[in-house]
């Protein structure tokens, strides 16, 4: 068993006959184990006209199984000091947990039981629906969430799987009944789209054996191709304003649609994002908006590429009186990087940062598990952590310049401003 992963990860992988995959990375750094069981079944799979089904399924799925009551599941988790998190993204439903090594067998069995045989008791649905509606109400009062969700809608349109609300709306959550959850589970939560990653103080062979015992008899439909419709190509700048009286700060979300994760230009876009809004306190954006002009506590960009053409998003939170100046600053930085591309120094710095940060990003069991899930999801290979430095080194300044020229044009940006003051020239929502 390895206690150090200085030379890189050494995961062991096995595929079951039903299509599910198990990946184990041994690590004895702490006497703990992280389990991450991910199904390729997120809000992308929501039925048309009923967003929120995946989200609500995740909220209820761990509240009782056909063999165990909700209380019994709760007791099994709590007595071991374990919090089971079930979350959804656009393409995934993730069951994750960290437990002591001594509790691993029991917790693994419980997670599989919860994922395979949920009972979706009506009483639990009622409670979790009320919690989810409360969470939506909280988001309605949160300028950052409002700006972010409105930007997705502006970039993709309200009906696109990346544009519609992943957590549903109050109206759709009220319409989602137990049958909808049962159907979602039957259709989408199946072995062919499951990857179980285990990282920690375990033995790989024994763990794979145990996962096989727990999953082997589970049958389901085979994996289907995932086709994400391309977003409409923007011809003009789109601006939306969300008035939120009483708020002290205005949140700005500004972005573009870009490329898919599997696009060969992915690492060029990653470097571009780092230079624009990540390096240091937040790249060129934070240098301008925070450091030189003192206008914001945060200004950064983010780029999380997915199965479909994914957004590159700029975020800033500013005093309402500085909104115009901040948008000008974002436009300036975006335009400049789009027209001129990065400097050689910026390329070297960001590349060194991204390569050097790999060991830090793979330090904890949880972060390794999430990384290995990405490797599986995008078929990157078990040696991806060792190949990644070379992939980053291979990116040329011309490739980053081309990525910048392709996407960074303020005239094609989508922009949302959520805050207390009206702004002239924006569509109000």
């Amino acid at each position: 068993m390895s206690s150090s992963m200085a030379a890189g990860l050494s995961p062991v992988r096995h595929t079951l006959s039903n299509g599910s995959t198990v990946v184990v990375q041994e690590s004895s750094a702490t006497p703990a184990v992280s389990i991450n069981a991910t199904f390729l079944a997120g809000s992308f799979c929501d039925p048309d006209g009923l967003p929120g089904v995946a989200y609500l399924t995740a909220r209820v799925v761990d509240r009782g199984t056909t063999h165990k009551s909700a209380d019994a599941v709760a007791e099994e988790l709590d007595k071991r000091g374990v919090a089971l998190r079930v979350g959804t993204t656009r393409h995934r439903m993730i069951f994750s947990s960290t437990c002591l090594a001594e509790d691993f067998d029991d917790v693994l069995e419980l997670i599989v039981e919860v994922a395979r045989r949920p009972a979706f008791p009506e009483a639990e649905l009622v409670k979790r629906r009320a919690e989810s509606i409360t969470a939506l109400r909280q988001n309605e009062d949160n300028p950052s969430v409002r700006a972010s969700e409105a930007l997705s809608e502006l970039l993709y349109g309200p009906l696109h799987p990346y544009g519609r609300p992943a957590r549903g709306t109050v109206a759709t959550l009220e319409r989602i009944d137990r049958d909808a959850l049962l159907k979602f589970h039957a259709d989408e939560i199946r072995p062919a789209v499951l990857t179980v990653v285990v990282v920690g103080d375990v033995r790989a062979g024994k763990t794979i054996e145990r996962v096989c015992e727990l999953l082997d008899d589970w049958k389901g439909a085979p994996e289907r191709p995932i086709v994400v419709p391309p977003p409409a190509a923007p011809a003009v700048r789109r601006v939306r304003q969300i008035l939120m009286p009483g708020k002290s700060q205005t949140d700005i979300a500004y972005g573009f649609t870009t490329i898919r994760r599997l696009d060969p230009r992915y690492h060029a876009y990653g470097l571009l994002n780092n230079i624009l809004g990540q390096f240091g306190l937040g790249g060129r954006l934070a240098d301008n908006i925070r450091e030189r002009q003192g206008m914001a506590y945060y200004a950064f960009s983010e780029f999380n590429a997915n199965m479909g053409e994914s957004p590159l998003v700029v975020r800033a939170g500013v005093d309402p009186k500085n909104v115009e100046r901040t948008i000008e600053a974002i436009d300036d930085e975006v335009r400049d990087l789009g027209l001129q591309g990065p400097t050689d120094v910026e390329m070297d710095e960001s590349r060194s940062y991204l390569i050097g940060s790999i060991p830090r990003l793979l330090e904890t069991n949880e972060s390794i598990a999430a990384f290995l899930q990405d490797c599986e999801h995008f078929d990157l290979g078990l040696d991806y952590d060792r190949r990644l430095p070379e992939l980053l080194k291979a990116v040329t300044i011309d490739e980053v310049r081309a990525a910048a020229a392709d996407v960074l044009n303020p005239q094609r940006a989508a922009l949302v401003i959520a805050g207390p003051e009206a702004r002239v020239g924006a569509d109000a929502a």
Binding site: A6, A32, D78, S248, G294, P359
Partner: protein, 440 residues
């Protein structure tokens, strides 16, 4: 290296070396060879609990200024020193402490020590930089004010304290942030940022003896200063329940109940920590990482009494280790359509049940196991291990961290009942409501 206060000690099991430089800088080094990384933290015994009226927020603002350039690191060169090694850096200020950290590949150790030495002694505090940072911090404050739960927390904490500076928010009051001067900041910096008021912690893939030599090289020339006097205010006894109600635009109601709580080193601290695990689930004692996700709480008393009964969507509790007595905080988010009075009544009913009948031995055992697990989970990286070493050196002294497990294990159901009866009284609490305008 001279030993000023304590002899240098090395623990073979944990490979931890502790020593003091001649100028009084305390140094703690732990070898952890699980990844090719090193984490450096520099802790100062100063926080918002040291601030006088009119200067609230000065500790946090000084923290911000210490990222703005030094004599030997011009501001524009601060960025990139650690990043070139893939590293991250940050800092935070709270009521008892201000701390700075870098975590990066082990090749960056000298650069990290250099940054911390510069930060300790050679900050520039250029007037235009101070002005620029004033608006950044006001923006940070306004961002917090956008969150009704945080707004309520500020009001409740201020209401719970009358004399002690723990009552004001660490970020400061807006008017103080508008009026403070560059000299206020610089004077404060010079008073507290001296080696004999600091603890340097290095954890990672290093040789401890080699680290000590490098620390000596970077820090030995920094002169010690007069030991700064820390603010010492005694909060008067609370004679009755206090209340605060905020009514303003919003969509969701929040209830917050705080009780005056013991300092980390008081005998009541661990019984209250275990009681909190019984009431809301164990969060552990790592301020840096304990709040990464929800605690195991589905069988916790207040969760079953409020969330499972459809009154609240979120229940949380927090008892944090502090130098002087602070607060035990319970927070509730009301389910849409449920009155704040109903949430409060259900919470108080459950607390009264604990006060009148105590807790079951099985609940204590579950809470202890949860806390044991959290102690393991919260030490899963060199950054987290270094945080815990520095935090407890700063707020509770050198032997506290290693005693935590033993102290948790020693807590009995009787002690929990006793602390509940004495501490969770109506006269010892402050209650806050955030009521969205126009709702009941």
């Amino acid at each position: 290296m001279d030993s000023m206060h304590l002899p240098a000690t090395t623990s073979v099991e944990s490979r931890t070396l502790r020593d003091y430089l001649a100028n009084g800088l305390q140094v703690v080094v732990r070898e952890v060879h699980t990844a090719p990384l090193v984490s450096v933290w520099c802790w100062y015994r100063v926080g918002s609990g040291d601030e006088a009226p009119g200067l609230t927020g000065v500790s946090h603002w000084v923290e911000h200024m210490n990222f703005k350039g030094t004599i030997n690191i011009p501001r524009e060169q601060m960025k990139g020193i650690v990043e070139r090694f893939g590293g991250m850096w940050n800092g935070y200020t709270w009521i008892d402490q201000t701390t700075y950290l870098e975590t990066a590949g082990r090749a960056a150790l000298d650069q990290m020590l250099f940054i911390e030495a510069e930060r300790m002694a050679y900050g520039l505090y250029e007037p235009p930089e101070c002005e620029s940072e004033r608006t950044v911090i006001i923006s940070e404050l306004q961002g917090g004010d956008n969150d009704p739960d945080q707004l309520l927390d500020t009001e409740v904490t201020a209401t719970a304290f009358r004399a002690h500076p723990y009552g004001h928010p660490t970020i400061g009051w807006l008017e103080d942030l508008r009026s403070m001067t560059r000299d206020d900041l610089y004077d404060y910096y010079r008073r507290f940022y001296i080696p004999n008021n600091a603890t340097l912690v290095v954890v990672g893939d290093v040789d401890a003896t080699d680290v000590m030599k490098r620390v000596e090289k970077h820090f030995a020339s920094i002169p010690e200063g007069p030991a700064p006097e820390r603010m010492c205010a005694i909060e008067p006894e609370q004679l009755g329940e206090r209340r605060v109600v905020i009514e303003r635009e919003g969509t969701t109601g929040y209830v917050k109940v705080v009780f005056r709580a013991p300092a980390a080193t008081e005998p009541d601290f661990f019984p209250l920590l275990v009681l909190d695990a019984v009431l809301t689930g164990a969060k552990g004692v790592n301020l840096w990482s304990s709040f990464r996700g929800l605690p195991p709480q589905r069988r916790a008393r207040l969760y079953t009494a409020l969330v499972e009964r459809g009154l609240a969507s979120v229940v949380s509790g927090a008892i944090l280790p502090t130098v002087q007595p602070y607060l035990y905080t319970l927070s509730f988010t009301a389910i849409d359509g449920v009155s704040l009075a109903a949430v409060e009544t259900a919470a108080f009913d459950e607390i009264e049940r604990v006060r009148s009948a105590g807790v079951e031995p099985s609940e204590v055992e579950r809470a202890r196991h949860q806390l044991r697990a959290r102690l393991v989970f919260d030490n899963d990286s060199v950054t987290n291990i270094a945080h815990q070493l520095g935090y407890f050196e700063t707020v509770a002294g050198p032997r506290f961290l290693s005693s935590i497990q033993r102290q948790i294990d020693a807590v009995t159901a009787e002690q929990i009942w006793d602390v509940a009866r004495r501490r969770l009284t109506s006269a010892n609490r402050t209650v806050g409501w955030f009521r969205p305008a126009g709702r009941s």
